[in-house]
Amino acid sequence: MPRWGMVIDLDRCIGCGACVVACQAENNVPINTEDVYHQRRAIAWIRLERYWEGEFPNVKARYIPVPCMQCTNAPCEPVCPVYATYHTTEGINMQVYNRCIGTRYCSINCHWHVRFFNFWEPKWPDSLKNQLNPDVTVRSRGVMEKCNFCVHRIVKAEQKAKVEGRALRTDEVTTACAQACPTNAIVFGDLDDPNSAVSQLLAQAEKEHRVYRLLEDLGTDPKVYYLKKIDIEATTAPAGAH
C-alpha cells in the first residue's frame, strides 16, 4: 500500500505560479475573479504565498507553495459531523462533496488554511465549459473542497495496473502541480518506496538538514515536506552569525 507524499524544494521554486494554474485546470476549480480575491474567498487548492524578507533596499521575495499537507493525524477529520472528510488507506485526506453540509468546522480546525468553501455557485465562462475535467466532480455551492493529491490520477493508474496484472510502478503517477512545475521543485510519490523520487530526495536532503514541515510541532504529521532554501549569503557568513 503506497503512502503518498510530496516534497517541495524551495531552493528550486521561482514563484511562477504554474502549479496553481495547473491545479485550477485539472481539478475544475472555479475561476477566481478579482472580486472573489477581494472578498478573500478565492479557491486555490495549491496557493503561492509570498513573503517579503528584509528592509527596503535589501528586500527578498520568498515564495512558498502551500497545498493540503495531507496530515496523518488530520485535525480537520474528527470535527466533521457527517464524515464528509476522511482518511483513505493510502493516507490521503479526502473530501466527499455529496456528504458535506458546509459546517466549515474543518476549515476552522485546519491551520494551513487549505480548505476552501464554495461561498458562491461556481461559474465558468462558456468558452471553458467544455474544458472541465470529466474525472473530477464539479462542486456545488455550500460545500468544502481541498487538494486531494489528484486522487483521480492515482485511481486511474491503479486501475490500469490492475488490468495489466502488475503492481504500480515507481513514480508512475504524479500530480498536476508537480507535472507543471518548470523547475521540478514539486515532486510527488510514494514515501514508503525507497526507490521513489520523493524518498531519495528526502534522504539526500536529510543529510543536508534541509527538511522541515509546516507547523510540524502541532503533531499532525503532515506528508508534504519542504526543503529549505540554500541561502548563499548565510552559508558564506562567518560561523555563529545569523
Partner: protein, 457 residues
C-alpha cells in the same frame, strides 16, 4: 419591611389571566414592532438561502462569524430557565414563584432561536435538515461521533425536551384553570392541554413529584449543554480556543447573562402587564443578590482564562491574547466586557436601594447582556483572524448587513414568541402564586409585623 398586600384567590386568578383576554396598546406596539424586525429577519435568511453564504461577511479564515457568536449567546440566555425554576425550586427559594414560568419559557424560545443559527449557517441547510435530523445512526454511513457538532445537537435537543416537559408539567393546573373560565377555541385548546386535570389530591401529588424529579434530572443537562457548546471551540486547535477552562467558564457566563435576562424580562412584564402585586421589589432584591455572586464568579473565570493563556508561555497563545487585549478593536471589546459585564452593574447591585429600583435593575441587566455578547465575540473571533503563523492568510472580519439583520432579528424572534406565549398562556404561574400565598404568613414579632414563609417539609 413594607406591608404586603394580601391577595384573594379570585383576585390572583383574574389578574394573572388578564393578558389572555385583554390586549393593551403597548402589546400591539410590541407585536407590530417585533413583527417588523422579524420580517426583516425572515427576508435576510431567505436572501442568504437563495444566494448562498456569499452574502455574509464570512471568508477564509473567518469561517465562523456573527451567527455562531449569536448562537453561543442565546444558548447562554437559555440557562436562565433552569437556574431560576429548577435550582431555586430544589433549594425552595420562595422568590422564584413569579418568574419561574417566564424564565422557563424564555429558556425554550431562546434554545429554539439558538438552534436555528447553526442550521442556517451551514452551506447547505436543506442537507443539514434532511440528513442530520434525525441523525442516521442506523445505517452507520454518516455518524462521526468524535465531532463536537454531533454532541451539540444531542445536548441541546435533550435540554429542549427536558425543559419543555418541565414547563408543561408546571402548566397543567393553570390550563385547567383557564379551561374552566374560557369559551370557544381557547376552551378546546385548554381542555386538551389540561389532560383532564381536576385538582384532586392524587393529581397534585403526581404533579409535585414530577416537578421535583424533572428539576433534578435537568440539572446535569443544564451543566452539560454549555460545556458541550464550549467544546465546539475547546476541542479545536485554534489558539486561545484550545482551553480546558472553557467548559465551566461558558457555564458561569451563561448563568450570568441568563439571570440578567430574567431581570430584564421581570421588569418588562411588570411594566407591560402591570403585575406590580406579583413581581415585587423584593424579587428584584433577591435576584440582584444572586447576580452579585454569579457575576463575581464569572469575573473569576474571565480572569482565569487570561491567566491560563499567559501561564504556559506558549507564544502563539500569548500573541493572540495580546492582540485581543490591547489591539484595536478588541481592546474596546475588552473594556466593554469588563465595564458592562462587571464594573458598572455589580457595585450598583451591592446597594439595596438600587436593587429595589426597577429602572436601575432593568438597565444594568441590559448592560450585562451587551457585555456578554461582546464577550462571546471577543472569545471567538480573534483566534480565527490570526490563526497561526501564516500572516499571508490573516484577515479581518466584517459582518455584512445580512448577518447584522439575523442577529437583530433573533432578538425580535425571542421577544415575539414570548409575547405570543403570554397571549395564549398565563405568563405567571397562577397555582404557584396561590401556593406561595398559602405559605406566606405575617408573624407578630414584638411590635412589628414580619412577612415570613411557613412550610412543612
Amino acid at each position: 419591611m413594607q406591608e404586603r398586600h394580601r391577595l384573594g384567590e379570585e383576585e390572583i386568578t383574574r389578574e394573572l389571566l388578564r393578558p389572555l383576554v385583554t390586549t393593551t396598546p403597548m402589546m400591539w406596539v410590541g407585536f407590530i414592532g417585533l413583527g417588523a424586525v422579524l420580517a426583516i429577519f425572515v427576508f435576510a435568511v431567505s436572501w442568504m438561502f437563495y444566494w448562498g453564504l456569499g452574502v455574509t461577511g464570512l471568508q477564509r479564515p473567518n469561517m465562523w462569524g456573527f451567527m455562531i457568536v449569536n448562537f453561543v449567546f442565546w444558548i447562554g440566555i437559555s440557562h436562565a430557565g433552569v437556574m431560576i425554576s429548577a435550582i431555586l425550586r430544589l433549594t425552595q427559594a420562595e422568590w422564584r414563584r413569579p418568574v419561574t414560568r417566564a424564565a422557563e419559557v424564555m429558556t425554550i424560545f431562546s434554545l429554539m432561536t439558538a438552534m436555528l443559527h447553526p442550521v442556517i449557517h451551514t452551506g447547505r441547510p436543506w442537507r443539514t435538515l434532511y440528513w442530520v435530523f434525525p441523525y442516521d445512526f442506523w445505517r452507520n454511513l454518516w455518524p462521526d461521533v468524535r465531532g463536537p457538532l454531533v454532541w451539540d445537537p444531542s445536548a441541546i435537543l435533550t435540554y429542549l425536551t427536558g425543559s419543555t416537559l418541565f414547563l408543561y408539567t408546571t402548566m397543567i393546573p393553570d390550563m385547567a384553570l383557564a379551561r374552566d373560565r374560557t369559551t370557544g377555541w381557547r376552551k378546546v385548546l385548554y381542555t386538551i392541554l389540561a389532560l383532564g386535570w381536576r385538582g384532586n389530591e392524587r393529581q397534585w401529588k403526581m404533579q409535585t413529584i414530577a416537578g421535583f424529579l424533572l428539576s433534578g434530572l435537568i440539572l446535569p443537562v443544564f451543566v452539560s449543554v454549555h460545556s458541550i457548546v464550549s467544546w465546539d471551540f475547546a476541542v479545536s486547535l485554534v489558539p486561545t480556543w484550545h482551553a480546558t477552562v472553557f467548559a465551566p467558564y461558558f457555564v458561569i457566563g451563561a448563568i450570568h447573562s441568563g439571570v440578567s435576562a430574567v431581570v430584564t424580562l421581570m421588569a418588562l412584564m411588570r411594566w407591560l402587564f402591570r403585575f406590580d402585586h406579583y413581581i415585587r421589589l423584593e424579587h428584584f432584591d433577591a435576584i440582584g443578590r444572586l447576580l452579585i455572586a454569579v457575576g463575581t464568579g464569572w469575573l473569576w473565570f474571565f480572569l482565569l482564562d487570561i491567566f491560563f493563556a499567559i501561564y504556559p508561555q506558549e507564544p502563539r497563545e500569548t500573541e493572540i491574547m495580546t492582540f485581543r487585549l490591547f489591539e484595536w478593536p478588541f481592546n474596546v471589546f475588552t473594556a466593554l466586557i469588563f465595564i458592562f459585564g462587571y464594573f458598572i452593574p455589580v457595585p450598583i447591585w451591592i446597594f439595596q436601594r438600587f436593587r429595589r429600583n426597577v429602572k436601575i435593575m432593568f438597565w444594568t441587566s441590559i448592560l450585562v447582556n451587551v457585555g456578554m455578547w461582546a464577550e462571546r465575540y471577543w472569545l471567538i473571533k480573534p483566534g480565527l483572524m490570526r490563526k497561526y503563523e501564516f500572516t499571508f492568510d490573516w484577515n479581518w472580519y466584517r459582518p455584512s448587513i445580512v448577518e447584522i439583520s439575523i442577529v437583530l432579528g433573533s432578538f425580535a424572534l425571542v421577544g415575539f414568541l414570548l409575547l405570543v406565549f403570554s397571549k395564549i398562556f398565563p405568563p405567571i404561574s397562577v397555582w404557584e402564586e396561590k401556593e406561595g400565598q398559602h405559605f406566606a404568613q405575617q408573624l407578630q414579632v414584638g411590635k412589628r409585623v414580619v412577612n415570613a414563609i411557613v412550610r412543612e417539609f
